[in-house]
């Protein structure tokens, strides 16, 4: 009830905006330094053995890229954006998920995090403000049910409040595996539990959607809960998981190719890339390292792409990709940034994703050669989708030039993006320096 009231306060207050940005900046600094200084030790904070928050290297890594990505995406467009106060709840919920270290804590924060958009949808449908939202609510309710069932099974086995790393392998029976599979795949937007993503776009601001993806609830549950004992799980389970995540990437890419809405297409491109994270994690240790790097790349580059798209949409009336808009003539710097961010994500040499593809494909082919070919197809299609979006937006010539203002980015607005790009290309050129740190 309290949450519902708070959500209704949509802030346009400048001090609120700067407070949120300040908090994000502070947390980015803290988590990144903790992550870099952490040598593999885990600090656990517990409350009456129920709630368990962990500052292990993986959680710190996730928290760091969560805060840095949002900050990089929000800072350059701060003057134009109205950050609503409810965004703080999204940040809080996401950080709770990222740092949770047992099933009960995960359940509480996951429910809290998903309830914020759910309540907004309920209110929107009631007042007839929202277009859609039904699928989001049904899937959220379904996954909530699965998570509750998993928690009941865990309570019966006495592992609900146990740290993820201490859960014994015999707990992972078929019902547990199936329930976890649904939760992980639904949280990650993977086929066939993906339809809620369509509902979010257009109804939520980009940074809120981004915060939902950046919480990486599915990845966290997979890495902390399933991964330690995955070698003892049936092979068929792993093959189904791998096939679905590869298929999901292909599906999202093709969906993006057919879609004309700018925000939807960008989101589909992002989700298609995200699906490949789970592929890498499931394949083998080499591919898993690639997947961790991939998570960093798409979090930073993907959020920057979203942020650039929101900037474009603010100054132009571009909503649909049903024609060429030729924005590069009006926004040359922005076009170059957009293009380079895309390159860092689709596996262009010297960019970070090139390393990722090399590791993931090699690792995957070691285990399942034919699934590896599917992954290669997904990667190639992703590249096509990106170029399609880029050319429709920035190249060609628009039929409505009067609707486009010349408001290219200033040097100060470009700085955060350029820093991220430098990082992405540094990863692409000196990958070993970064991969050294991605061990836990």
């Amino acid at each position: 009830m309290t949450i519902s009231k708070s959500v209704t306060v949509v802030g346009v207050n400048k001090s609120w905006k700067y407070s949120i940005l300040g908090i994000l900046a502070l947390m980015s600094l803290i988590f990144t330094s903790f992550f870099l200084l952490n040598n593999g030790q885990t600090s656990v904070i517990t409350s009456n053995s129920f709630l368990e928050i962990s500052f292990d290297k993986f959680s710190l890594f996730l928290a760091s890229i969560f805060c840095v990505s949002l900050l990089v995406g929000l800072v350059p467009v701060r003057k134009e954006h109205e950050l609503s106060t409810s965004f703080l709840y999204y940040v809080l919920g996401a950080l709770g998920i990222i740092l949770s270290n047992n099933l009960l804590t995960f359940f509480i924060f996951w429910t809290f995090h998903r309830s914020i958009p759910s309540l907004r949808f309920v209110r929107g449908i009631k007042n007839e403000h929202t277009s859609g939202g039904g699928t989001f609510l049904i899937q959220h309710f379904f996954t909530f049910g699965c998570l509750l069932a998993l928690l009941i099974l865990a309570t019966k086995s006495g592992v609900a409040t146990m740290s993820f790393s201490q859960i014994p392998a015999p707990f992972f029976t078929w019902p547990v595996l199936i329930l976890s599979f649904i939760i992980i795949y639904e949280s990650h937007g993977i086929f066939p539990f993906h339809s809620w993503i369509h509902d979010m776009i257009g109804n939520l601001e980009w940074y809120k959607i981004s915060s939902i993806f950046l919480s990486r609830a599915g990845v966290l549950l997979f890495v902390k809960f399933l991964l330690p004992t995955i070698n003892q799980d049936p092979d068929i389970f792993r093959i189904v998981l791998l096939s679905l995540s590869i298929f999901s990437s292909i599906y999202w890419t093709i969906r993006g190719i057919f879609e004309t809405n700018v925000t939807k297409t960008t989101t589909y491109f992002y989700v298609a890339q995200s699906s490949l994270i789970l592929t890498g994690l499931q394949a083998d240790p080499v591919a898993a390292r690639g997947a961790y790097l991939h998570m960093m790349v798409i979090s930073l580059s993907g959020t920057s792409l979203w942020s650039l798209i929101s900037y474009v949409q603010r100054y132009t009336s571009v909503k649909r990709l049903n024609q060429f808009y030729g924005l590069a003539q009006h926004y040359p710097k922005l076009a170059v940034l957009f293009c380079l961010f895309g390159f860092t994500m689709i596996g262009t040499p010297l960019g970070a994703a090139f390393v990722v593809e090399d590791l993931v494909i090699t690792g995957l082919l070691e285990q399942h050669p034919f699934l590896g070919l599917g992954h290669i197809l997904a990667t190639c299609l992703n590249g096509i989708l990106f170029f399609l979006v880029f050319s429709k937006l920035f190249l060609g010539r628009t039929s409505y030039p009067q609707k486009i203002k010349n408001m290219d980015m200033s040097l100060s607005q470009m700085i955060p993006y350029v820093l991220v790009l430098l990082l992405m290309f540094s990863i692409g050129i000196f990958p070993s320096l970064f991969l050294e740190n991605l061990k836990w």
Binding site: G134, V286, G326, F343, L359, P369, F387, G396, M414
Partner: protein, 440 residues
């Protein structure tokens, strides 16, 4: 030692120049055209001299291949990505061809693109192409070769869309992109496949490893098919022919360097690199010969129905490259290399002269008479008039190649389209259902 310094210079000169240009762009330094022209002039002179000396040294060394290994670029678990290079007759010849032709193109562009808005962009992309081609020429492993291969593809696509404020070049660059990405899958798959079955992507030792590999002949044969698949798009062979004439939308110097000279011959270059491997599998040589022969006949027939100079040249190029494929299939590898050099040089000249064709025609009217003589001696006369007319009509439509490829694409996309429709209906049903519950 000298050879090592020379070939490393050929790699580092374009790389450093590329980095300098990128930094200048981000620092918003507006480099004057004169400075750019002078710089690339001296760079191309230096590169030409270095590559000429390198080729001479290789020949003096008895055309023996020299291998260079450097510390691993990437180490993750058991996987290492080593920087392996080879300097041999094939690589040094291609590097020499690259240096000389790129130099000519730089010189030609200084007049042709004088005071053009995108001159800086053109120089940057041409430098990236040079770096990509040098990487392909000297790389000894498939992973490294793929990096150079991708750079060539990316620059090619960006240069087709050089006149980015026109719609048609952008459409054509997207067409080229689809062909490139689909075929680039082949090289990536070949790299991963050979890594999986032979634990190496070093193509100089792959033929030796074949006898010791613990895999069936079919698995090893796949590598060859992937290589052929990868070569198809770059060299514009069947069924990936139609993008090449469309790619002529770019500026004439880029058409010359890409589709007359260097990029188009990368396919045969790759086949020559893998010739030792192909010789273990005669069926692969049959496939190479068949594809090359069919493409040569197809392009020759279609080219005769076209009337504009650049399109005619494009089909003539496909036809010649098809013949080079046949030469490789027949085992005339030295002759194929000579053919590549001769053909690339002639086509560059023809493409560069194509823009002043009308002037040439008025200066030398005997051109038309030569054409008449050629027509009278044509083999076409052997067929009956009716057969010729039918062939002409089909050739005019490019033997409906685009129609068939679109049909195949539609077949692939049909299940996705069907699912998208179902999902839309399902989401609308969800919305109605949730609305009903909430309203109640």
């Amino acid at each position: 030692m000298i050879i090592e310094i020379f070939y490393l210079s050929l790699l580092f000169i374009p790389l450093c120049w590329m980095v300098i240009l990128a930094l200048c762009f981000f620092a918003q330094l507006d480099l004057p055209e004169r400075f750019l022209t002078e710089s690339v002039k001296w760079i191309s002179v230096a590169m030409s001299l270095i590559s000429l000396t390198l080729s001479a040294l290789v020949i003096l060394n008895g055309s023996k291949a020299l291998y260079f290994d450097y510390p691993a670029w990437l180490i993750v678990g058991n996987y290492t990505f080593k920087l392996r290079y080879v300097v041999d007759l094939l690589g040094s010849t291609y590097a020499l061809l690259t240096s000389l032709l790129v130099g000519i193109i730089y010189r030609f562009s200084s007049n042709y693109l004088h005071k053009e808005e995108g001159y800086f962009r053109f120089i940057f992309l041409l430098t990236t192409l040079t770096f990509g081609l040098m990487t392909v020429s000297f790389s000894r492993s498939l992973d490294l070769l793929f990096a150079g291969w991708e750079l060539v593809g990316t620059t090619s696509i960006l240069l087709i869309g050089y006149f980015y404020n026109q719609v048609q070049p952008i459409r054509h660059s997207l067409k080229a992109l689809v062909s490139y990405r689909l075929c680039d899958m082949g090289i990536l798959a070949a790299a991963a496949w050979s890594h999986h079955y032979m634990h190496s992507t070093d193509f100089t030792i792959i033929p030796e490893l074949i006898e010791h590999a613990h895999a069936g002949a079919l698995s090893l044969l796949f590598i060859g098919f992937f290589i052929i698949w990868a070569s198809l798009a770059k060299s514009g062979q069947l069924p990936f022919c139609s993008w090449l004439p469309a790619a002529m939308e770019g500026p004439t110097p880029s058409s010359a360097i890409f589709y007359g000279a260097l990029s188009i011959h990368l396919g045969p270059f790759l086949l020559l690199r893998f010739y030792d491997y192909f010789s273990h599998f005669p069926i692969l040589l049959w496939v190479v010969g068949f594809v090359g022969g069919a493409s040569a006949i197809y392009a020759s027939a279609v080219g005769r129905t076209r009337s504009d100079a650049k399109t005619l040249l494009a089909y003539a190029t496909i036809s010649q490259v098809g013949i080079i494929w046949v030469e490789i299939a027949l085992g005339f590898t030295q002759f194929a290399l000579f053919h590549i050099v001769a053909h690339a040089s002639l086509r560059t000249w023809q493409f560069l002269r194509s823009s002043s064709l009308i002037q040439d025609f008025f200066e030398n009217p005997t051109v038309l008479q030569d054409k008449k003589i050629h027509r009278n001696l044509s083999f076409e006369k052997l067929a009956s008039r009716m057969v010729r007319r039918k062939i002409f009509i089909h050739a005019l439509h490019g033997f409906h190649l685009d129609y068939f490829t679109n049909k195949i694409l539609d077949l692939f996309l049909a299940p996705f389209k069907f699912y998208i429709e179902i999902e839309k209906k399902w989401m609308s049903w969800n919305n109605k259902f949730v609305k009903l519950i909430i309203k109640k």
